[in-house]
Structures are given as C-alpha cells and as structure tokens.
C-alpha cells in the first residue's frame, strides 16, 4: 500500500518535486461498464454454494429463534424471561441497545462521511445502510415485546387510550419510541432513494419479464437525465444533513433511558457522547465483519480495497479509544465525585458478581482495537476480522455491564440479585442474529450491494474536466505542484 509518487509537471522555474498522490478508490483502471457488470453480476448470476450454506441455517435459526421465542413469550407471559427478580431489564434491553448501535455505522457512512466529502464511502455505503435497516428491525423486536402484553404495544403510539389519557411526552421512553421510529423511517427513505438509479440500471439490463417489471416499478421510471440528477443530488444532500443530527440524537436518546433515571451508574452526563461513540465503534466492526467475507465471495476487491479496510480500522481504533476514555472517566468520576452510591456502583462493576462481564468488555473494546496502531495488523484481514469479532462481543458486553450489573446492585441490599438469561431469552437473541444474517444475504441476492452510480462518480474520468487542464489549470495535483514551486521560489 505504498503511496505512489510521481513528479509534478514543471509549470514554473524550480526543481521537480515528488508529490504524494491520492490512493485510487477503484483499482486496476476499471471502466464504467466493468463496474456495472460486476455489481449487477452479484444479483444476476447464480448464487455461489456458500450463499446457500449461510442462508439456510440463518433462516432456520431466525424462524426458530424469533418466531419460536416470541410465540413462547406471548403465549406464556414475560416471566419466561429471566427477569423474575429485581433485575427488570436484562438481555432484552441489552440486545435492543446492541442492535440499534450496530445501525449507527451505516448512517455515519452514508450521511456524515458524505457531508465531509469522504469519497471512499461510496464503495461501502449501500451495504452499511442495509445493515442499518436490518439491525433496527432486530432492535425493534425487543422493546415491542418486553412490554409483556404485546397487544397493548399501541399504547406507545401518540393516540389517547379509552380514558382520554395521552402518552407522557416528558418520558425518555417515549422519546425513544419517536427517535427509533424516525431513525428507521429516515434510514429507509435514504436507502431507497439512494438505490433508485441502481435499480434503473438493473431494469435496463433485464430481459422483458417479471424481473424487468418489478425492478422497473421500484426504479419508478428513473432515466438519469440531469434535470432529475439535479433534484436528486439536492435530496441526497438534504437527507444526509437531516440524518447527521438524527444519528447523533438516536443513541443520545437511547442513553437518556438510563441517564435521566436516578440509578447510580446510569445517572451520568457522559452517557450521550459515550453511547454515540460506542455505537459507531460497534457498527464499523459489524460492517467489516460482513463486508470482508462478502468482498471475497463476490470478487469485489477492486471496489472495496485495502484502503477502505484501512480507513475503517482507523475509525475503529479512534472510536475504541474514545470508548476506553469514557470507561476510565466513569471510574474516575465515581471516585472523584465523592458520591458513595456512585462509587459503590462502580466498585461492584469491577469486583461484584459480574466482574467477568466487565473484564470481557474492557479487553474486547479497549485493548483489542489497539493493535490497529500497527499497519501490519490493518493489512492482515485475519487480524482485522478477529478484532472485529472481539468488538462485536465487547459491545454486547458493554450494554450488559451497564444494564445488568447496575440493576443487580441498586440502593437496597435486599434488592440485590443475580440475573441469568433464560433459554427463551437466549433463543430470541440468537434468532435475531440469524434474522440479521438472513436479511443481509437476501439483500445481496436481490439488491445492488454497492452504489453503482456513486462508484462510477469517483473514477477520474467521471470529472468532466479531467482531460481538460486548460479550463482548470489549478486542478488537483497540478495545483499542489504549483504551490510547492512557489514556496521554493520564496525560499
């Protein structure tokens, strides 16, 4: 991954200086047509055997775990979960926060990296956005069903009940309902609108028939005229600008569920930024966990390059370090505040009955990403995969530590308990993992997994002035060279 250097053209007097060139986002000088062929090929060709080998077990696990687990829950009652003692939030809310956090990387890639003009996002944004949608689907199951009598879940919607009593709009739990449903809706709009030009590509390649009809309906008659692109680009920019504060708000609101309570260990102001950093951290790990195999299976190495993986590994390192800072700061504040209940809450995290969860969280989230300081580790896909798996596990434990450790040691020693997940809870969580994988595999099978239009846009020849240095003499590398010559002349 050595940076290619080349010598700038001699535009003025002075020595020739080597200029660092940007690494190419698409390797091997691929053409527009090659990009179309390769991405559409993923869904037009027969799926490889490995697809079926992954899909069938995932689908079965999803059916048994989610449908079976929920059937037992609904037909028997919420007591089939392990929350029959004083720990009233267990795996359910842990899993909810875990899945909703996974989604955040998708929105970060599609919105925040778009606003900051990080063009490398184009190769991974579609798959990451799909991941967001599916993760939020998995997340939604838990709060909807943990209410116990799920047929009363409509109490969450802003409509009055039979006694004309409305929801408490001051409650963080209701904020959460609004935040998560808005997040899902906006992510879906963003994902779908971003896919329209690519669905048109598939429509235009299909032979007349059902396939052409269905993709045609979803492409809505897209023609790719600039009078459409102009509005489309504005819509994309607006959605990115709306999603950016949204994604920061969603996990902040999730953290309010805890932070606005008076429970020691939850009642802290550090929670919103700490949760958002953790969500991005866990989300990027999940993006890499599923994109590295997908890239290999479908031969997408020229579009999802080592540069992309390197960038994501660096983001994991950064956010992992922020999360580590938050963990240490929590401990420090518990000590420095002099609040004895706060101090006790953290003492029990470290040496209480759930010390093993705290150790798992610390080693997976704080220590394991530190190997990404070394370039060799970011370039070795086995190491990257191993770290990402650690982070996936670690982020689940983070939520477990925050929720269960705290509730197992509240104010009154009489309330202290030890919570164990019941088989039905474990079944449901494993089921959502299967559901997530099955949905993602279906996405790979039926929808373009890379943003075709945007990837083409990053090619050098996509710039209408790339062969035309007369109109734009100070373009890109040439500008840099001219500037360096000026510096030389002054010196």
């Amino acid at each position: 991954m050595a940076h290619a250097t080349h010598t700038a053209d001699e535009t003025r007097q002075g020595p020739k200086l080597p200029v660092l060139e940007r690494e190419k986002l698409i390797l091997n000088n691929r053409s527009y047509h090659w990009i179309t062929e390769r991405i559409c090929g993923v869904l037009e060709n027969k799926q490889p055997a490995i697809w079926w080998m992954l899909f069938i077990p995932s689908a079965i696990i999803a059916l048994i775990g989610v449908l079976g687990g929920l059937s037992i829950l609904v037909s028997t009652g919420v007591g089939v979960w392990g929350m029959t003692n004083t720990v009233f939030w267990g795996w359910d809310i842990t899993n909810f926060v875990f899945w909703i956090g996974i989604g955040h990387a998708g929105t970060l890639i599609s919105a925040i990296l778009f606003l900051t003009r990080q063009n490398w996002r184009t190769s991974i944004n579609r798959a990451a956005e799909a991941m967001t949608i599916f993760a939020v689907c998995c997340a939604g199951i838990f709060p909807a069903f943990h209410v116990g009598r799920v047929w009363f879940a409509w109490f969450l919607a802003p409509i009055p009940n039979a006694n004309a009593i409305w929801q408490n709009f001051k409650s963080p739990l209701l904020w959460d309902v609004f935040a998560v449903s808005t997040y899902f809706t906006i992510s879906l709009i963003f994902w779908y609108l971003g896919m329209v030009p690519d669905l048109a590509t598939i429509r235009d390649r299909a032979k007349p028939g059902l396939r052409k009809l269905l993709y045609g309906i979803f492409a809505m008659g897209w023609r790719g005229g600039n009078r459409q692109w102009s509005h489309y680009e504005m819509a994309y920019l607006l959605l990115a600008a709306l999603s950016t504060p949204l994604v920061l708000s969603v996990h902040s609101v999730v953290s309010f569920d805890f932070a606005t309570s008076v429970v020691p260990g939850w009642h802290t102001t550090i929670f919103p930024p700490y949760f958002v950093a953790g969500a991005i951290f866990g989300g990027f790990a999940m993006v890499l966990t599923i994109m590295i195999p997908a890239r290999f299976i479908y031969g997408l190495q020229d579009m999802i390059t080592m540069k992309h993986i390197d960038n994501m590994a660096k983001i994991i390192l950064l956010t992992g370090t922020i999360v580590g800072y938050a963990y240490l700061m929590e401990l420090f504040v518990a000590f420095y505040s002099g609040a004895q209940y706060e101090a006790a809450a953290f003492k029990y995290r470290l040496v209480g009955p759930y010390w093993w969860a705290y150790v798992a969280m610390m080693s997976c989230n704080v220590l394991s990403p530190q190997v990404f300081w070394f370039k060799w580790c970011r370039e070795n896909l086995w190491v990257v995969m191993a770290v990402c798996m650690c982070v996936n596990v670690g982020m689940w434990f983070e939520r477990f530590v925050i929720i269960c450790t705290t509730l197992a040691r509240m104010f009154l020693p009489a309330d202290w308990g030890y919570y164990r997940a019941s088989p039905v809870e474990i079944m449901l969580f494993v089921g959502t993992i299967g559901m997530f994988l099955a949905l993602f595999l279906l996405f790979l099978r039926f929808l373009p997994c890379i943003n075709i239009a945007e990837v083409k846009w990053t090619l050098p020849e996509a710039d209408p002035h790339h062969d035309d240095h007369h109109d734009h003499p100070d373009h890109g590398v040439a500008k840099e060279a001219a500037y360096q010559h000026e510096l030389q002349a002054k010196a």
């Binding site: 001051k170 409650s171 030009p197 309906i217 790719g224 005229g225 102009s230």
Partner: protein
C-alpha cells in the same frame, strides 16, 4: 408493420465521455434550446451550470415540511400535557386532556424542555418525508413509461452511455436543423425517437 400513428419525441445523440457531454451541453444551452436534457449514469459535477439550470428549489419545501413537524410536536405535547392552550377554550375543550403530572414537572410552558427531543424527531421525520415526496414531484416520478425507453441505445444511459435528447416540442426544434446541430457538436449515433400515439 405497426398500424399505430407515431409522434416524434425528439433526437437522441450519444457522446463519448463526460467531458464531451459537458462541452456539448454548453453549446446546446448557448443555441437557446429549452426542452432538452443530458443523460448520464452518474451525476456530473457542474453540468447544471453547463445546461443553464437553476438550483433545485427542494430545500424550500423541506424547510416548511420541517417547520410543520416542529409545530406538530409542540402542539401535540403541549395540548395533551400542559394547560398552555387554555386561553383558547374550544381547543382545550376539544382536546379534553389530562396532563400526566410526574417528575415534578409543571403543567405550564416551563415544561417545554422535556418536549424538545420529540420536537426534534418530528422535525426530522416530516423533513424526510418532504424530501421524498418533494423530490419525486420535482423529478416528475414515478412514471411507468417514457418515450425514451423506446430507443435501442438508451438503456446504456444507466450503464456507460452519455446522451443528449432534444425534444420536438422545443420551439427551436427542426427535423433537419437539430440533427445537423447535434452532429456538429460531436453527437454520434443520432436517433429519432418516436412514441406511439394512441
């Protein structure tokens, strides 16, 4: 051997690259055409200017959509959880609300900070829907068919083709003149696109 009458939609010309399309677009613009468009597989930077197009008005729609969202959330929350609307008797009577007095929060306007999260979320939600429906309206989509889809080469516009289509309803359009004009500015495989007139 079609028996239906055909109506001319316009000329479709292909250009070899994004930069060729850009330069041609400037010439079509300068020639004074109005009803025409450039087709490309991805958005081309600066083409709006080359075509003499104005900035999209979508942000204005979204501004009002978003404001509606903020107002909706504010009214919903205050009407059901406070007594601030009591100065409009019929409204308070219609809503017939029983504020939930918890968390030591008052039932007057000073409880509004607790409504900010929902006001924010509904602002984003309404804005998002306005983006979706606004952009579809501005793009005149969805539509199930278009005369250009009858062209044999137009399918490449979503793959690797760069096209300009000049419509027959343009005041400056003429069957011979426009064809030679498109040839002149570098257009290749020029095609007369016709739609079936029922």
């Amino acid at each position: 051997m079609s028996t239906t009458r055909k109506r001319v939609y316009g000329y479709l010309a292909e250009f070899k690259s994004a930069s060729a399309l850009y330069k041609a677009a400037e010439k079509v613009r300068d020639a004074g055409f109005r009803k025409w468009d450039c087709y490309s597989p991805y958005p081309i930077h600066g083409l709006d200017k080359a075509m003499g197009m104005k900035r999209s008005i979508l942000p204005w729609f979204v501004f009002f959509g978003g404001t509606t969202g903020t107002a909706t959330a504010f009214v919903l929350a205050t009407l059901t959880q406070t007594h601030v609307w009591d100065f409009i008797p019929w409204l308070a009577k219609t809503a017939e609300s029983y504020p939930t007095v918890v968390q030591g929060k008052p039932t007057n306007i000073f409880t509004v900070p607790a409504f900010f999260p929902i006001m924010f979320e509904l602002t984003i939600l309404f804005s998002g829907f306005t983006v979706l429906f606004g952009v579809l309206a501005l793009m005149k989509l969805p539509r199930l068919n278009h005369p250009l889809f009858a062209s044999k080469q137009f399918h490449r516009a979503t793959d690797d083709g760069f096209f300009i289509a000049v419509e027959a309803r343009d005041a400056k359009f003429s069957p011979e003149g426009t064809r030679s004009f498109l040839e002149e500015i570098g257009g290749a495989s020029i095609e007369l696109v016709e739609e079936e007139d029922s």
